[in-house]
C-alpha cells in the first residue's frame, strides 16, 4: 500500500509533469526531440542550479581541507583517535560539514532520476512503453496525443536506439570522466588516492557501457547534463584536478618540500598557481 502511494506521488509530482513538459517542448521545438531533450536538460539544470552550486562549493571546501588533514595524519602517525579528534576540531573551526555536499545531491537525485525516466518513457521504444506512456499524459492537453509517437531522428541518431557508431558512449564516458577529474585532488594517502582513482574511472566506464545498449536519447541527456556540470564546476573551482594533468611534473629537488606539504594547493598557501580558479579567487580576495 505504502509502495503504491510512493509510486503514485512519484508519478504525480515528478514523472508526469516531466513527461508532459518534455513532449510540450518537443512541439515547441518543431518536433525535434533531440533539441527538446537538450533544452529540457538545460532548464532542469538551471532550476536546480542553487543546489548544484551549494554542493560544488561544499565539495571544494572539503577538498581544500584535505592537505591540513594529511598534515594531521603526519603529525600523529600512530594515534588514530587523536587524528580523528583533531580532524573534527578542524572541520568545526572552518565550518565544513561533509554532509554539506551530500544534502543538495540527495535533493537533486530524484530530479535527475525523474528526468531520465521521463526521456525513456517519452521515447517509448517497445509497445509496452507506448502503452505506459498513454497513462502518463494529461487528459486536459489532448493536443499532446496527436504528437505521439515522437519522431526520434536527431543528427545521425535514432534517439530510441543505441548509437551504432559509438560516438555517444565515448562522449558520455569522456564528459563524465572530465567532470569527475575536475573534482579530484591529489592525495598523498595511497589508500585514499586509490579510492579516488577507482571513483574517477568506475562511473564513466559504467555509464559508457550502459550507453552501448540504451536509447541514445538518454546518452544525449547524460552528455548535456555532464557538460553543464563541467561548466558549473569550472566557474566555482576552476579546472581542479584536470589542470594538474597538463602541468609537467617538477623534478624532485633536494630540500624541496615533499609529501603532504607538496600536495597543499597553492591557494591555501597564499600563492597563485596559475589555475583559472585560483586566479579568480585571488582577484576576489584582492577586491
Amino acid at each position: 500500500m505504502e509502495e503504491g502511494i510512493r509510486t503514485y506521488l512519484w508519478n504525480l509530482l515528478l514523472l508526469e509533469p516531466m513527461v508532459n513538459g518534455l513532449i510540450g517542448l518537443y512541439a515547441l521545438m518543431l518536433q525535434n526531440f533531440g533539441i527538446a531533450i537538450i533544452v529540457f536538460t538545460v532548464l532542469v539544470r538551471l532550476a536546480t542550479m542553487p543546489l548544484t552550486l551549494r554542493q560544488t562549493r561544499s565539495m571544494k571546501k572539503l577538498q581544500e581541507l584535505q592537505p591540513r588533514i594529511q598534515e594531521l595524519q603526519k603529525k600523529y602517525p600512530k594515534d588514530k583517535p587523536r587524528v580523528q579528534q583533531e580532524q573534527m576540531k578542524l572541520m568545526k573551526e572552518v565550518g565544513v560539514n561533509p554532509l554539506g555536499c551530500l544534502g543538495p545531491m540527495v535533493i537533486q537525485m530524484p530530479i535527475w532520476i525523474g528526468l531520465y525516466w521521463a526521456i525513456l518513457q517519452a521515447l517509448a521504444v517497445s509497445p509496452e512503453d507506448l502503452l505506459r506512456l498513454s497513462g502518463r499524459l494529461y487528459s486536459w492537453a489532448p493536443a499532446i496525443n496527436q504528437l505521439l509517437p515522437l519522431n526520434a531522428g536527431f543528427l545521425w541518431l535514432d534517439l530510441s536506439l543505441p548509437d551504432r557508431v559509438f560516438v555517444m558512449p565515448v562522449l558520455v564516458g569522456a564528459s563524465m570522466w572530465v567532470q569527475q577529474k575536475m573534482t579530484t585532488v591529489a592525495n598523498t594517502d595511497p589508500r585514499q588516492s586509490q579510492m579516488n582513482q577507482l571513483m574517477l574511472w568506475m562511473m564513466p566506464m559504467m555509464f559508457a557501457f550502459f550507453t552501448l545498449s540504451f536509447p541514445s536519447g538518454l546518452a544525449l541527456y547524460w552528455v548535456v547534463s555532464n557538460g553543464i556540470g563541467i561548466v558549473i564546476q569550472y566557474f566555482v573551482s576552476g579546472w581542479g584536478g584536470l589542470a594538474t594533468m597538463f602541468k609537467p611534473k617538477p623534478a624532485p629537488v633536494e630540500g624541496a618540500p615533499s609529501g603532504v606539504a607538496a600536495a597543499v594547493p597553492a591557494e591555501l598557501k597564499g600563492a597563485d598557481d596559475g589555475q583559472p580558479g585560483s586566479k579568480r579567487k585571488n582577484r576576489r580576495r584582492r577586491r
Binding site: 573534527m88 551530500l102 496525443n145 559504467m206 540504451f214
Partner: protein, 381 residues
Amino acid sequence: MRHLHPRTALVALGALLALVASGCTGTSVSIGWSGPVASEGRVHLGTIAGKVVAFEAATGRVVSSPGGSPWVFDIEAKLNKRFYATVAVAESGVFAASYDGKLYALDAATGQRRWAFQAGTKTTDTLVGDVVVGEGLILVGSSDGKLHALEATLERAKPRWSFPTGGKIWSAAAVHQGTVYVGSLDRHLYAIDAVTGQEKWRFPARGSQQRIGAVASAPVVAGATVYVGSFDHKLYALNAADGSVKWTFDGAQGWYWSRPLIDGDRIYAANLDGRVYALRDEGTRYSTPWPEPAQLNAGVRSDPVLLGSTLAVAGQDGSLHFLDVASGRQIDTQAAGAPVLAGLATDGQLLFVATTKQTLRAFDARTRAERWSIRTDQIGR
C-alpha cells in the same frame, strides 16, 4: 552539528552515486501480449516465451500431432523472442508473426515450420500487429513501416507486394472486397488495392487540413463503413469507398488501441481511459444506446468479444468484465490473475484469456466460472 569522518562521507557519496546509477539504468520493457485464437476444438497461442502452441479447447492440454509429438513450435530466435501479434489460423496452415521480425508458416496438423519470411532488414523491424489471412493473402505490418502481403500458401513464402507508410505499423490489417485497410503510427489509415498493392485512399487525405492521432487499433469493416480508433481519443466511421468521414465520436478521454467490435449496427469500443463505449451507427451520425459508458477499473488494450448478449472485456489490471449489451450494465467480473493486454477469444462455449504472466485461462461462456488454466512458460521445456 556532529561532523562526519571524511572516509564515511566518501563511502556515503559512493553509495549515493551507486543509487543514481541504479536509478538511471532501467530501460524499456518488452514482454509481449499475443492473444489466443479458437477454432475447430483447438486454441492456438503465440506465447511470451516465443513458442506457438496448439491446445485442446476443452481441456487445455497441448495437442498431440499425428506423430505423437506435442504441437509446439519454438521460434528459436536469439533476439526479440516473443509474440505480440495474434496468430492467424487458416485452412492452409497457421501463420505467426514474431517480434523477431519473421513471419512463420506452420503445418496445421503438426506445428512443423514450412517456411519463414523475414519482414524487415534490421533487428528493430519487429512485428507487432496481428496476422490477417483473407482473400488469398497473408497480411502483416512491420515496424519498418511496411505492410507485407504474401500468398496464403504453405508451399513457400511468396511475397505479393509490400506497401510503405511513414511510421511503424502496429495495427492489424482488415481485408474486405478487394481492399486492405491498415493503420500506421504515421497518423494515417490507408486503403490499399489487395491485388496490386497500390494506395486507393488515405485518411486524412493528402493536402487535407485534418489531423488525426497515430493508429495502432485494428480497423474493422462492416458493410460500406470502416471503423477505426486513434490515439487522438476519437473513433472514426469512414466511407469504405473513398475514406470520407461519416461521423466521428470524440467522447473518450484516452487512446484507442483495442479493435472495435461490430454487431449489426452497434459498435463497442473499449478505450485506454477505462471505459467501454457503445454506439449505434445511423448513417451519417451515431447515437448512444447505453445511458452511459461502462466504467471499468483500468484501461483496455485487449479486444473484447461477444458471448451471446454479453460483452466480455479484459482490463489492464487483470479483471474480466461481463457487460449486458443492451444496457452496458456490469453483470459479473472475474479475475484473470494478471494484466490482460491481448485480445480475448471464444469458441461459443468457452472464453479464452492470455495474461502477461504467461497463463492461458478458459472461462465458461455461460456461467463465467473458470474451466481450466495453464502456465504457458513451462511448455516445451
